[in-house]
Every structure is written in structure tokens, then in C-alpha cells.
């Protein structure tokens, strides 16, 4: 069957030490192609130090409104635990990116992970994403140069490469009698 392939959410770290932030998603057949597609779709301009991708299907997402309006979700509290990475949308400020990485918790289910996360990072979040560590594929430090440095070699993708203001001023300077009306 012909499909557009599944979606992988993309998390971008602009500089080392900063949190990864959700930039969008790519369609890809598998994790390796998802990582490559993420680089090509989202890292055409500086800066990026690291990329993570995770299948959209693996992500447990809840908005504050969903949590208030819905029933409390039980989720397994007692089974074997795994690590979950926690992301949160923290403000209503206009932005290019969505949820930010906060840290990780160990839990038996995404629901239990969210409860822990809420205790640890406060309940003021607008949106929570809980992502199993096992679902995440990351770019490595060794490959960072070939993945991210080439975006620095494409100055023509930036508006400051073009000097239309200067050029139009020069055009007008040659026509002092130019009549607008």
C-alpha cells in the first residue's frame, strides 16, 4: 500500500546546554531516515547542535485543558519501569517551537510518568509530552559537524545577504526630481 510513511516528531537543540525543543515533524520510513530528514527539513539555517527524533505514535500528549476536563487516567503504577523523557509547553509567548525538554522520570506507564512529572515540574504547564527513552533516536557528537555545519555555508538563505534598501536609496539618489504622485 502506498503511504506517505509515518511521522516522527523532531526535537532541536540550538546550542549545547540548551533544552531540546519540538520544531515540527517529518515523514520517514524509519528512525535513521527520520534523523536525516529532520536535518534536511529543519536545519537549513543556523544554529543546531543536536537533533532527536521519536515516532509520533510513541508520544503521550496531554494539554492542561484535556487534563482538567478529562477523567484522571490510571495507567500502570506497579509494573516494571522505564525511562521517559518529559517535555512541556510553558508559556503562551509566540514562538517557532513547541514543547521544551525538562528532564526524565522512571515510571511504569506514560500516565504514571506524567503524574511524576507534574509533581517534579509543577502543574502550570500548558502541554505535556511524555516520550519513552527507547523511542528516541539522537544525532551523535561525532556526526554533528557533517550534520549541522553545512547550514553555516549557505549565507544566501539569509535576508541580510541582499541589500535592497541600499540599492533603492541609490536608485532614488539618481532621481532627485522623481515625482511620486
Amino acid at each position: 500500500m502506498d503511504t506517505q510513511w509515518p511521522r516522527f516528531e523532531v526535537f532541536e537543540q540550538a546550542r549545547p546546554g540548551q533544552p531540546h525543543r519540538n520544531a515540527g515533524a517529518v515523514h520517514a520510513p524509519d528512525a535513521e531516515m527520520a534523523l536525516q530528514n529532520a536535518r534536511d527539513v529543519f536545519v537549513r539555517r543556523p544554529d543546531c547542535a543536536s537533533l532527536w527524533v521519536a515516532p509520533e505514535a510513541a508520544i503521550y500528549s496531554r494539554t492542561a485543558e484535556e487534563l482538567t476536563a478529562g477523567e484522571a487516567e490510571a495507567g500502570d503504577e506497579h509494573g516494571p519501569t522505564q525511562m521517559y523523557q518529559v517535555f512541556q509547553k510553558q508559556s503562551q509567548r509566540q514562538a517557532e517551537t513547541f514543547v521544551n525538554h525538562l528532564g526524565s522520570v522512571e515510571a511504569s506507564s506514560p500516565e504514571a510518568a506524567l503524574r511524576q512529572a507534574a509533581e517534579q515540574w509543577g502543574k502550570g504547564a500548558w502541554v505535556w509530552w511524555i516520550v519513552p527513552e527507547s523511542a528516541i533516536t539522537r544525532s551523535t557528537e561525532a556526526e554533528a559537524a557533517s550534520m549541522f555545519a553545512p547550514a553555516l555555508n549557505k549565507p544566501y538563505r539569509q535576508p541580510n545577504y541582499y541589500h535592497v534598501q541600499t540599492q533603492m536609496r541609490a536608485v532614488r539618489a539618481h532621481d532627485p526630481d522623481e515625482d511620486e504622485a
Binding site: M1, D2, T3, Q4, W5, R7, A23, G24, A25, V26, H27, P29, D30, A31, E32, M33, V41, R44, R45, P55, A58, S61, R62, T63, E65, E66, T68, A69, K89, Q92, Q94, A95, E96, T97, F98, W126, V127, A135, T137, K154, Y156, R157, Q158, P159, Y161, Y162, H163, V164, Q167, M168, V171, R172, D175, E178, E180, A181
Partner: protein
């Protein structure tokens, strides 16, 4: 706890009025979801189809710099389509469905791309006028209430910056270049001026913009307002370059400080919107071809992924 649809609707409207973004998972009225899917997917289709009139000239770009610049611009348009399809996907549309709607002619896209690009100088005029018009629209949409669409627009606005400027730079150079270049760019302006004005849609009096789109911060400025701003910025610059706008009725109104254009040919506008433009068939045929040619490829990679460790294949 708000349980009735009416109460939910009121809470929803209050959130938007407070400047909050609606995110995937939040409750939203059906009309909001449906309208947004239509608006966003149409916008996405426009970016994808928009790659064609410009993409055709990459192989003929007349110097290395222009070759790289045009390639990067068309690549950005693909990227913008990608972000927009994703925003629509968060509302429940699938890319398979959206692509099918485009190829079967059910979905609309901006009619401006149904006009042919006949000469190299068209690249400059398209960049300055068509991307210029798009930027006005897009800046408005960056403030819209739906989070994924708003974020896609913020990213698009940042990237779009160079699109208009590279076009304007080309027009500046050719308008003051050789007689051949000047003639080429004037001819391009003659052909793209009216299609660019039509990008802003019908007059406000004919437009079926609902109060809801305004309340939902999807449309905060009217078609005519945007069109007037566009014309006011462009006409003085075109005149300063010695180019003439192909509109014998164009007049400056000193009282309102507006450049008043002649009447748009609305018969032409509706004819092209309904599929009768010079390149409608050609544009869709090209997209259909790419889609068909790509089927075996998509299937092959899906088969490979299914056989290897799902989601964790080795390079």
C-alpha cells in the same frame, strides 16, 4: 466543569480572546477544525504547486549565484509546504488524503501559480510581488489562534525574508540593466501584476469572510486592506526604477495617500480559481507524475522498514 457544547464553545472563545493558543488535544468546535484544515491544506498546496513555475528555471539560471539562490528558494517552498501539511495533520487530516484532494482537483490552491513563467526575469517579479504579497498574509497568520499553524507561520515568515529581497534585487538590476534585461523585466511585470493583486482575493464586499475567522484570529485584516498596503509599497519603487505598472487607470489619491488601481478582471479571477487558468492542468499533471513515479520508492522503503527492527533500522 464545562460539559455542554455551548459552554465548551464559550470557554473556547474566551481562551482565544485571552490570547491563548489552541493546541492539539484541546476541545475545538467542528467548524474551527474543518475551516482550519481547509485553509491550512490550501496554503500547503499553494507552496507545493508554487515550486513549479520557479523550479522550471533553476536549470537556466544565468550565473552560479542565481542558481544557488533560486534552488534555495524553491527548496524553502517545499519546506513551507511540509510545515503546513504537518499543521493540518495535527487536526486529523492525513497527508495521503490531502495529496489526493489536490491531485483530483477537489482542493484549491492559490491561483497565482496557474500562470506560466515565461522568462528568467519572471523570477525577480515573482519573488518581489508574489512572495511580497504572501508575506503580508503570513505576518497576519503568525498570530492565529491555532498553535501548530501559528508556529509554522512564524518559521515561514523568518525564512520568507530572503525570497522577496532576492526578487527585488533582480528587478532592480534588470530595470537598470541592458535594454534586453529591461524589456524582459517590464514584460514580466506586465504579466504578473494583475495575478499578484488577485492573490488577495475578492473585494471585501464580495468576500464571504465570517466573523468567526476574525474572532479566531485567522483573518485579522481584510482582503482590500492588504491589497492596498501591497500596492502602496510597491508602486513608488516600481516607478523609481522606471518600470510602468500595466494599469492605465492607476492614480495616486493625495488625500488618502493611496495608490488607486483600476478594476480587477473578476471574470478572469473566477475562471482561474475554477480551474480554467493557463497552467492549471499542467501544474496538477506535474504533481501527479511525481506522485506516480514515486510510488515504488515509497513502497520499497516502507517494506524495508517493516522487515527490519521497526523504527530502529541501521544506516
Amino acid at each position: 466543569m464545562e460539559t455542554t457544547d455551548e459552554a465548551r464553545q464559550e470557554a473556547f472563545e474566551r481562551r482565544i480572546a485571552r490570547g491563548e493558543k489552541i493546541e492539539p488535544g484541546d476541545w475545538m468546535p467542528d467548524a474551527y477544525r474543518k475551516q482550519l484544515i481547509r485553509i491550512i491544506s490550501q496554503h500547503a498546496h499553494s507552496e507545493i504547486v508554487g515550486m513549479l513555475p520557479e523550479g522550471a528555471w533553476i536549470t537556466r539560471a544565468p550565473n552560479l549565484r542565481q542558481k544557488l539562490v533560486l534552488l534555495a528558494k524553491v527548496q524553502d517552498e517545499a519546506g513551507h509546504g511540509q510545515y503546513l501539511y504537518h499543521a493540518a495533520e495535527t487536526l486529523g487530516a492525513t497527508r495521503e488524503e490531502m495529496i489526493e484532494a489536490l491531485l483530483t482537483g477537489k482542493a484549491k490552491y492559490s491561483s497565482v501559480f496557474n500562470y506560466p513563467s515565461l522568462a528568467w526575469a519572471d523570477m525577480g517579479i515573482i519573488g518581489w510581488l508574489v512572495d511580497g504579497a504572501a508575506i503580508l498574509n503570513q505576518s497576519m497568520l503568525a498570530r492565529c489562534s491555532y498553535g501548530p499553524y501559528s508556529r509554522a507561520m512564524v518559521r515561514i515568515c523568518m525564512e520568507e525574508g530572503f525570497h522577496k529581497k532576492q526578487g527585488q534585487e533582480m528587478v532592480i538590476r534588470y530595470a537598470r540593466g541592458t535594454p534586453g534585461q529591461t524589456a524582459m523585466v517590464q514584460d514580466a511585470l506586465n504579466r504578473w501584476w494583475w495575478p499578484a493583486l488577485m492573490m488577495f482575493g475578492p473585494h471585501d464586499s464580495e468576500s464571504s469572510n465570517s466573523a468567526a475567522l476574525i474572532r479566531w484570529k485567522i483573518k485579522t485584516r481584510t482582503n482590500d486592506e492588504l491589497r492596498q498596503e501591497f500596492v502602496n509599497e510597491l508602486v513608488p519603487d516600481l516607478h523609481a526604477l522606471g518600470l510602468s505598472v500595466p494599469d492605465p487607470a492607476l492614480r495616486y489619491n493625495a488625500e488618502t495617500s493611496n495608490w488607486i488601481t483600476g478594476e480587477i478582471d473578476w471574470d478572469e479571477f473566477w475562471r482561474v480559481v475554477r480551474g480554467g487558468g493557463p497552467c492549471n492542468k499542467e501544474r496538477l499533471a506535474a504533481r501527479q507524475q511525481a506522485h506516480d513515479d514515486g510510488q515504488w520508492v515509497r513502497e520499497a522503503l516502507a517494506a524495508y522498514a517493516a522487515r527490519t527492527d521497526a523504527g530502529r533500522s541501521t544506516a
